[in-house]
Point group: C2
Chain length 290, copies 2
Amino acid sequence: MPAITGRARLFAVLGDPVRQVRAPELLNPVFAELGLDAVLVPVHAPVAHLAEVVRGLQRAGNVDGLLVTVPHKARARDFAEVHSDAVRLAGSTNALRREADGHWYAENFDGTGFVAGLVAAGHPPAGKQVTLVGAGGAGGAIAAALVLAGVARLNVVDVDRARVRTLLDRLSEHAGGRVSEGTPPAGDSADVVVNATPLGLRADDPLPFAPGRLAPGTVVADIIMSPRETRLLRTAAAHGLPVHHGEHMLTHQLQLYRDFFGLRRRPGTEQPACADHTGPLTRPDRTAYD
Amino acid sequence: MPAITGRARLFAVLGDPVRQVRAPELLNPVFAELGLDAVLVPVHAPVAHLAEVVRGLQRAGNVDGLLVTVPHKARARDFAEVHSDAVRLAGSTNALRREADGHWYAENFDGTGFVAGLVAAGHPPAGKQVTLVGAGGAGGAIAAALVLAGVARLNVVDVDRARVRTLLDRLSEHAGGRVSEGTPPAGDSADVVVNATPLGLRADDPLPFAPGRLAPGTVVADIIMSPRETRLLRTAAAHGLPVHHGEHMLTHQLQLYRDFFGLRRRPGTEQPACADHTGPLTRPDRTAYD
């Protein structure tokens, strides 16, 4: 990556732990490609000190944005004055940016990234019946994005029924009668069934639901990225069902981040950059504030 | 520079403004050369929010050190539990590191860097008579380092006599009768005369003192780095006096920072590094704390 100068704009990804994050390796090459003097660094924000770490970064004049990962996605809402619809519906945020007037705006791309991946794979969820298994943080974000994308019906399944009710309460603002607590997917109850539980991270995890009981043509989607071929997806494929891999959720978030942070090529850097970029980020929707 | 991963150790340089700092361009190549997954970023810490910014960074589990530049060098002492002799004598710090037990230790390399530069140039100040013109932040740091380096006598000159007295009060702990308020340098009153005022930054600045009145062989040192050839140094050279450039102060700080932060080559990275370094920094005098 290019040299970091004193004029660099800063972005941080916050987690506890943070060592597993991939965002710096994904976004710093984007900055370089666009000729921007900007850098994304991992920041280990312990749960006990999240507020101090975030407020400190927000007070720094050259910090433009924050990405947030577990376990901070719900609490990070408190550090933005304005929330997107997806954040309000999901109850969590994974990206905050400073606006031109200095306030902070929170967005959630976990669900939007998932939906963008579905659309790109030829499975647009608008007007469809979707069953979502798992109403935790990721499930909530995906549920919110599916509602905002116009699903005809969303059934949410979780062994923790209180968690389902909390999520449905949040979703009801936008979703009207389109969302409800469902039962484990079977038959022709859905066009798309999504696993948003952690089941599948380990090889000996039980299946979150039984693909063999689904109607032909039901799309089986997983949000687990590693392993790529979860036991759920392997079983679904063995039953002849179309599958959708977890990695799509991440790959489609990258373009969403570019748009969200207004990352555009710096004028005069048509060639990929390799040193000494000193301009501020260019964002048509705000002025420089440093 | 190599890719930044989720395991990167963080260093920040704080200033207001911060765009002029050179530390990222100097230290990041050192991290790369040593195969360390570490990065130094500029952080614009507004005066009004210094405490919040510093405390936030100190709460982050992967922040190992902070460099401090104007106008924060005096106040930054408050963010370290332990101060070096140089910090106590100078009344300011420009480098803080987290120790193995979690406390913060403050050092000041402005003066030490200057003294190291003098030594390397063949003008060791130990046992010498030195006149220092300028008792501000940089002058105080240089005075402290000269005292700790064992000057025989240090005369401090400043138009602001209250500032001289405050500095002499701090120095008296270590300096005993070796320091005093002096008069503008002339004749054979000194072996080395140092300009630590801002005079010389602009081409039309008056001289801080008259080199033509110094005895032959008196070393004239400037701490102004840009322009390299200040009017003072050009005038001194025209009078046949040996001169010492401001840049030495910075170039010698780099090695001091390496030692201070315990930067050592990561085992197994004998070749200059170019990607994906995931080890913690190696420091024999502390344990990993992340």
